[in-house]
């Protein structure tokens, strides 16, 4: 099934006789495998409103991400939350859609400074599991009128409703960007350096560390600064005079490449194994990877978000490291998601961090309210 309009989408959901698997561009196949009729949203396409002077865009959920990024670039603007392109990582083809980005709340390296996808969302329209069209939020930047269902829908992976339209805030592309890099640090030293850089007033917009297993050579620490040309130069200088002494300066396109690598997790693309995405507080990033090594879980790691977002490549056989990763993550206070794994693995181990009893009750309650028949991506989130 492929909906071309919101009304069609609602009809298809009302008429559904069994579970539905919601599919935007099909580029982010994450979660427990869902057995159901495929409902495609790619037909709901097009930018319905774009006001560069108000930093806002409204687009149908199935609009290709590439189309949105091109329209923004033409006005010198961009999606500041830097959504990653996971096609390489997940071995998928197809066109990523804005609805898919929102439904999975994908945010790249700039999340630490600018915020996550959910922080840029201004409004949604969606069809719930009963076929009701619901709108929430709007297209203005400040809005506290009623409950924020925009955030609830962002990251709900189509389990509460199927997005038909999203509106969001965009930001200007910076005049310049520079990256400061250094090779050969261990994880602990690297994250200590990243934390020090993030504590300065120099507005760091990316802070990452790729270990030797990820680079396939020497470990790399990298820090990004963006903004007006003179300001970027000034801040890079101050950082190199201080907490980033000895770091090399990378400018222009080469700097962009370094961050696309982290954003898209390209070091793990085309390599065998399961991929986990763990979020802990930055200083716990190296504590986690050290513990995993001590416990004998071989891995390669890309630390983003100042060290706190840890992408792990591990052996995908057995439980794919689930037990030990979950144990260590829980001990530190954070959450782990199995981003890439065989269908068998994703059916065997929980893909998302299991919730405590109270939150699980709330989640189940919301699911029952928004999708009373339990037909929208059932079981996908565990």
């Amino acid at each position: 099934m492929r909906a071309e309009t919101e009304a069609e989408l609602a009809e298809m959901i009302v008429g559904a006789e069994g579970p539905l698997r919601i599919c935007g561009g099909g580029t982010r196949d994450v979660g427990r495998p869902v057995d159901g009729a495929v409902l495609q949203t790619g037909g709901l396409s097009g930018i319905s409103l774009y006001e560069p002077g108000a930093l806002t865009m409204v687009a149908e959920a199935g609009t290709p991400l590439a189309e949105i990024e091109a329209a923004l670039a033409a006005e010198g603007q961009r999606l500041a939350f830097e959504p990653g392109d996971w096609r390489g990582l997940l071995g998928r083809a197809g066109e990523s859609t804005i609805g898919g980005v929102v439904a999975t709340n994908v945010s790249g390296p700039r999340r630490i400074q600018a915020g996550a996808c959910r922080d840029f969302m201004l409004g949604v329209r969606f069809v719930d599991g009963a076929g009701q069209v619901v709108k929430n939020g709007g297209r203005v930047m400040k809005n506290v009128t009623g409950y924020d269902l925009v955030k609830l829908m962002c990251g709900a992976r189509g389990t509460l409703g199927v997005l038909s339209q999203v509106s969001f805030k965009v930001l200007a592309m910076p005049e310049a960007e520079m990256t400061l890099t250094c090779e050969g640090q261990d994880a602990k030293a690297a994250v200590t350096t990243l934390c020090a850089a993030l504590k300065t007033p120099f507005d760091v917009t990316g802070a990452a560390y790729l270990d030797a297993g990820a680079t396939g050579g020497v470990a790399r620490t990298q820090v990004r600064i963006e903004g007006l040309e003179a300001s970027v130069r000034y801040r890079a200088g101050r950082l190199r005079d201080g907490v980033l002494a000895g770091f090399e300066l990378v400018e222009g396109a080469a700097s962009g490449d370094l961050w696309r690598e982290v954003r898209d997790v390209t070091p793990f693309a085309g390599r065998e194994g399961a991929v986990w995405r763990v979020s802990v507080k930055p200083t716990d990033g190296p504590v986690l990877t050290d513990a995993l090594a001590t416990l004998g879980l071989d891995h390669a790691a890309v630390h983003d978000w100042g060290g706190g977002l840890v992408w792990l490549l591990v052996d995908g056989s057995g439980d794919g490291g689930a037990d030990v990763i979950r144990q260590q993550t829980a001990a530190l206070g954070g959450h782990a998601t199995l981003i890439r794994g065989s269908e068998r693995l994703r059916a065997d181990v929980p893909v998302f961090e299991p919730e405590n009893a109270v939150l699980a009750r709330m989640t189940a309650g919301l699911k029952a309210k928004f999708d009373p028949r339990g037909i929208l991506n059932p079981g996908l989130m565990g």
């Binding site: 400040k142 405590n356 309210k369």
Partner: protein
């Protein structure tokens, strides 16, 4: 503004409930004397007053849980209260409710500079969060005008903003985790020092839910390193349209000031008479503030000046020193006091798409003439969050009602042009009955469904946010039997 009538069955339980509450709280934390309850009869929307049946001041999360469990069992509604600075009536009690004040919970639990987070009890005031971290060079970004007095609990409930949220976002963008107590006394932990939720973004829906989903007792907040410096500049224009166009051009040019404030002529005059800030005589005034090092500030201000010059400004004034910066902000910061000097006023909070600014200002002024009421506009122009201040005389019969009708017309206008009823103050009781203008039945139902999950008996702050006719069936749940 109508409130549901008190339930005689609940009122009859006052003494019994007070006794039960004294068993779980210190004596002085349970207030039942009518004279003392007067302190909780209203918040900053002072036109509406009603003392609660009881008030409690728990000091720990466990005490909050005990209070909620007892009230839940007794079927008595609870109205959470931070510092009582809500402009929307968010903390207004009903006569049969218990006010749960978090004022005694104001400790800093942990400041973690490496990870740039602070964990506080939510009775702590907004400004004192910054106070706790500024020696280390950090600050907490959301800055509502009431920041000296308002509590983090209320900031979370209303998803408060402030002048500087153009760059730093509002409360929801700076909130990483909470400890929250549900109406049945269940304590839950959501989020923490790490980023982003593993499952559904419950934190996102809790923030801004106006104390209707749970009582947040502790919060993990993002703190930021203080910029090296900041400097405001003032620009005067001879029309609102031109000032609006200038705002749009600054934003389009890719410069992101931390604040862009807008004042119209009535507001400029009132502030000038009151604070003598030395503002120019003009139709519209912008205050634009940028941050960074000295050289960065100069670079940004030079670009902004270049843009402003294309709009034939009457005057451009860059602060030369701290004293001048202070004077530029002085008038803006005393706007509310200045209006209060002239008369009683009602402060609105609608948001509009930035490009609708000139049209909306014209309509507001025309409507004011129809109603025969004065209005001044001061607002956060960068994000379209308007604060029309309507002047009225509380002692003149019928004036408040006229003012409310005028306010409602302005908010409907905001919705009409693609905006919303409230940008940062919240719905409370003030905008509750206007919700039908923004949302259709299915939209409202979806929101109320969330409350059904968190608070099935609809006992937490039940008469707020949703029009009474929309929530009636849910609030009618009978008082629990013993």
């Amino acid at each position: 503004m109508e409130m549901p009538p008190p339930s005689p069955a609940r009122l009859a339980r006052k003494a019994e409930l007070a006794t039960a509450l004294r068993r779980v709280l210190p004596d002085d934390a349970v207030i039942d004397a009518p004279a003392e309850l007067r302190a909780y009869e209203c918040d900053a929307l002072a036109a509406y007053r009603c003392p609660p049946m009881l008030a409690v001041l728990p000091a720990t999360t466990d005490e909050v849980a005990d209070v909620l469990r007892l009230c839940h069992a007794a079927g008595v509604p609870v109205v959470p209260r931070g510092a009582g600075t809500s402009l929307a009536g968010g903390a207004l009690p009903t006569a049969d409710s218990v006010i749960l004040g978090v004022a005694r919970m104001n400790a800093v639990l942990e400041a973690d500079y490496d990870n740039r987070v602070i964990r506080v009890q939510t009775g702590r005031t907004n400004l004192s969060v910054t106070g706790a971290v500024e020696e280390e060079g950090f600050f907490y970004a959301p800055d509502p005008s009431s920041q000296l007095a308002c509590a983090i609990a209320g900031n979370i409930a209303m998803n408060s903003g402030g002048a500087h949220c153009l760059k730093y976002g509002v409360t929801t963008n700076n909130l990483l985790g909470v400890t929250m107590v549900l109406m049945d006394g269940t304590i839950c932990e959501i989020g923490g020092a790490h980023l982003d939720a593993p499952g559904l973004d419950l934190l996102g829906v809790i923030c801004g839910s106006e104390g209707q989903l749970g009582v947040v007792t502790e919060a993990t907040l993002r703190i930021l390193p203080k910029p090296e410096g900041a400097r405001p500049m003032l620009m005067a224009f001879d029309s609102n349209e031109v000032a609006g166009a200038c705002v749009s051009d600054i934003i389009k040019a890719g410069i992101l000031p931390v604040a862009i404030e807008f004042m119209d002529r009535p507001c400029i005059r009132a502030c000038e008479d009151f604070a003598k800030a030395g503002y120019p005589d003009c139709e519209a005034l912008l205050i634009v503030e940028v941050e960074g090092s000295e050289a960065e500030i100069e670079d940004q201000l030079a670009r902004i000046t270049g843009i402003a010059r294309r709009h034939d400004p009457l005057e451009l004034r860059e602060a030369q020193d701290a004293d001048e910066a202070g004077r530029i902000w002085l008038g803006r910061k005393s706007a509310f006091g200045a209006m209060g000097q002239i008369n009683d006023y009602m402060c609105l909070d609608g948001t509009i798409p930035v490009n609708e600014l000139p049209h909306v200002l014209k309509r507001i002024s025309a409507l004011g003439e129809e109603y025969g009421l004065g209005v001044a506009n001061v607002f956060h122009a960068g994000d379209g969050n308007m604060h029309p201040l309507i002047l009225y005389d509380a002692n003149k019969p019928g004036d408040l009602e006229k003012c409310e009708a005028y306010g409602a017309d302005i908010l409907k206008l905001c919705v009409e042009v693609g905006g919303c009823l409230t940008g940062e103050h919240g719905v409370g009781i003030e905008k509750r009955d206007l919700m039908w203008h923004q949302y259709a039945a299915a939209d409202m139902e979806a929101q109320m469904a969330v409350k059904d999950v968190f608070d099935p008996a609809w006992l937490l702050n039940p008469a707020k946010v949703f029009p009474l006719d929309a929530s009636e069936g849910r609030r009618a749940v009978p008082v629990a039997a013993e």
